[in-house]
Amino acid sequence: MAKIVAVTGNEAAAHALKQINPDVCAAYPITPATELMQRFASFVSNGEVKTELILVESEHSAMSACIGAAAAGGRVATATSSQGLALMWEMLYIASGLRLPIVMTVVNRSLSAPLNIHCDHSDAMGARDSGWIQLWSENAQEAYDNKIQAFRIAEHMDIRLPAIICYDGFIIGHSIGSIEYLDDETVKNFVGEYQPLYPLLDIKNPISYGPLILPDYYMEYKKAQDEAASKVANVVLDVAQEFEKISGRSYGLFETYRLDDADIGLVILNSAAGTSKDVVDEFRDKGIKAGLFKPRLFRPFPYEQVGEALKHLKALCVLDRADAFGGSYGPLFLEIATSLYPYKEKPFLINKIYGLGGRDYLPEHAELALNELVQITKTKKVKTVKEYIGVRE
């Protein structure tokens, strides 16, 4: 029987990990992901899971140990945030290039400098080209549900790619919310017995991982990896359909909120979508056709499906909780603009950078964006494409 509980996002993610009972976890503590692995370490100490927990001296080592354990043939999970993810950078590409379906929770936190422990999305955005699947979560329920689904997606025999689950540090990670847990047996059956592909520990069939591949073959392996990535979206939808049967909760590649007949819309990731939905409702009450689009599968980005879902709007504001320094627009804006590029008729686009380093995202920020979109639909003119909001002059 499913059970309603009041837990933090980290507690929910740790509970999911307990129910999945992976073979190996290697992790290094970092705020705000620490609580997740600290709770999981208690499950290991109390004998509630059979997981081999490897305590290491850095995140680079954590990911290295995960890669070794996954190549050996184990189901492997870890978690990190911010600088920890940045320190894993080299190994992220090795995990995806070796096609090892490791599942990692990234509790989103800003990157230094200046040093800051609070939420923004610069950590996960920094890993967006590393070949890892990325699923983003608005609240603890989605974090819990995405975590369970991620193992099925990553381990699918057509995919075999590692996956990241994102949720906002502190805002979701450390805040208590009411969520529904599935029962242990249901989760166990859903994720199923782990099926290793070419395990090193199969000593009757000796194999080698990590060979030097020279110019005569490197591109063939990268093309094969890209092909696997192109199949992810369909697998995400299939897994979501199965997950709905056991949970009653439905997931897609993204969530649309009052978007079908909307003229203007906000595009926003993770927890700030909740606040934005309230403001969308207020605008609807005023007779303004506003809507919201919240990506769930950010990597591989489902450009065609996103373009189809957004092309009918008149104006869109993409809100980024990370900047892409180097004169660029925000990372989410770039993807939305790319999705809409093929269409002759497409919405006006603006980009707001908000909430960096844990700066509060308030209803007035969504109001400001939506009011500007109303103006753009009237004037048919965009004054400034990219702008920081909630920042002092």
Binding site: G97, R160, S208, P211
Partner: protein, 97 residues
């Protein structure tokens, strides 16, 4: 040998056939060549033991010479060779000389 296409390669470049280094010949890397002087050889097999590849050929427990397909010319065999009465059984000479 026909090279494989991207649909034929293993996920993650895993090598499934153990010991396939035998198919990978590295002799063309060599700029120095080991020469075996049998008269100075005490059959200690240090050369065979230290060779990082499989360039030292041994038959019935005795060193018989080199398979130059696998010799990169690293010179470890010549360095380790104790020889006989101060004369090395393996010496390196420059290729092309």
């Amino acid at each position: 040998m026909k090279l494989k296409g991207w649909k034929e390669v293993t996920p993650g470049a895993v090598i499934l056939d153990a010991g396939n280094a035998v198919e990978f010949k590295t002799g063309s890397w060599r700029s120095f060549r080991p020469i075996w002087h049998e008269e100075n050889c005490i059959q200690c097999l240090f050369c065979w033991l230290y060779c990082p590849d499989m360039a030292v050929t041994v038959k019935d427990g005795k060193m018989t010479g080199f398979n130059y397909d696998y010799c990169k010319g690293c010179g470890i065999c010549a360095l380790e060779c104790p020889g006989k009465k101060g004369n090395k059984a393996i010496v390196m000479i420059e290729e092309g000389k």
